[in-house]
Assembly symmetry: C2
């Protein structure tokens, strides 16, 4: 492909006041946005970005994401995200991230799994054409647990509802990955979030949801562990597990 193999890609940021939450820290949803952003940037550099995928009518979609943070970046703090591919095969790619704070101290890790969808059939696309990606695998360690199995919720302790609006829809014409996260976190109050960190957030995206779709948000929380799912008329959109600190 004539692309240089940059196995690890780093992006440095500063957390602006205008981006911070009421705790004057980075919101978890902004971290997820950055994770998707940096994955997109690295894919561009590796020659498997938006433009190249579009030639085959494919688009990357986030399938799973697990985040573990010991703390979040604070307002005005410099932070960096380093990303690398742990594993690639013709069905999906596993991409990890390490987040470092202003003093270089590692403050968290993220694991992600990416599929490509065929934009005509909306079915998973074949990635075997991108075989050069195998050369970009890095053996840098990611010391957080891989994604676990997220089970259906039988007895919710909380049920919410929502209808997806214009701002929830992204360039893939479906509900944006970060918006599901936002919807899940919105099931707890501001006060709860101010007194509880999210120690681990794990989400599996199962089925697309679209503009004007009505969904139910089912939560089953025992102590600090909450299992969650977002369900539309046509099935389960995503499942998640949130472990509060």
């Amino acid at each position: 492909m004539g692309q240089e193999v940059i196995k690890e890609y780093i992006h440095e940021y500063v957390l602006n006041a205008s981006e911070s939450n009421a705790r004057k820290e980075m919101p978890l949803t902004l971290l997820a946005q950055r994770v998707i952003e940096i994955a997109t940037e690295h894919a561009d550099i590796l020659g498997v970005g938006f433009d190249v995928m579009m030639e085959d009518n494919l688009a990357w979609v986030l399938s799973r994401m697990s985040i573990e943070m010991t703390r979040m970046p604070r307002v005005r703090e410099k932070y960096s995200i380093t990303t690398w591919i742990e594993n690639y095969n013709r069905h999906y790619s596993e991409r990890n991230m390490e987040i470092a704070g202003g003093d270089g101290e590692v403050i968290g890790y993220v694991r992600t799994i990416w599929f490509a969808i065929d934009l005509n059939t909306r079915a998973p696309g074949d990635l075997s054409k991108l075989e050069s990606l195998a050369l970009t695998e890095s053996d840098r360690p990611c010391p957080i647990a891989k994604q676990g199995r997220l089970r259906p919720i039988s007895e919710p302790t909380h049920v919410g509802k929502y209808r997806f609006r214009y701002s929830d829809i992204d360039f893939n014409r479906h509900v944006n990955s970060v918006k599901y996260m936002e919807l899940l976190l919105n099931q707890w109050s501001l006060e709860y979030h101010e007194t509880h960190d999210v120690a681990r957030f794990e989400i599996a995206y199962l089925q697309e949801t679209h503009f004007d779709d009505d969904v139910k948000i089912n939560i089953a929380q025992v102590d600090k562990t909450a299992d969650a799912e977002i369900v539309s008329e046509s099935g389960v959109s995503c499942r998640a597990r949130i472990v509060f600190g």
Copy 2:
């Protein structure tokens, strides 16, 4: 203050696929976010940023914003935002922005007005201590109309409702400026947005709204001009005028 006077500040960006809307363009809310971001960055450089203001228990809040775009940046396009202060006095500061596309062509302008609030009383703060800001005024032209008077809505053609959630709240512990915009734009369908540009968007922030506040969104649209307001139990949070193209 020992700060260098940089009258015009420019920030260059690339529109990521992951940030784009269903039209594969920059969402208007992301532009507003960038506008707030670049204003924050320039304020930091001028020595009137978050940290300095906090010493006097003050925080900048956006009071008015008018956006006129001939087109939005497109996916993977480089764009830049240049900002400068048009006018400063002890009550508020008027800050403008020029947006240029990848080929350097100017594609739009933004006018903003900023107050500072006293974080204890939540009343407007006195900016006379920041007199050095007067030295930073630039006479660069901003060829879009100043903010007009936005009137109460007597006969809405559409009424929506919403309750503000955790993700709507920012570091000032009130609903974030961009979230009002998002809520307003969400009163139209995906299809409407896909077939209508926003030629001018004008908003005046009147009163803070907080977590769990219930609001009504009143819209009075005649042809392509929509007047809008968001009203909570305690009064009008914001008024806006959207002119579709």
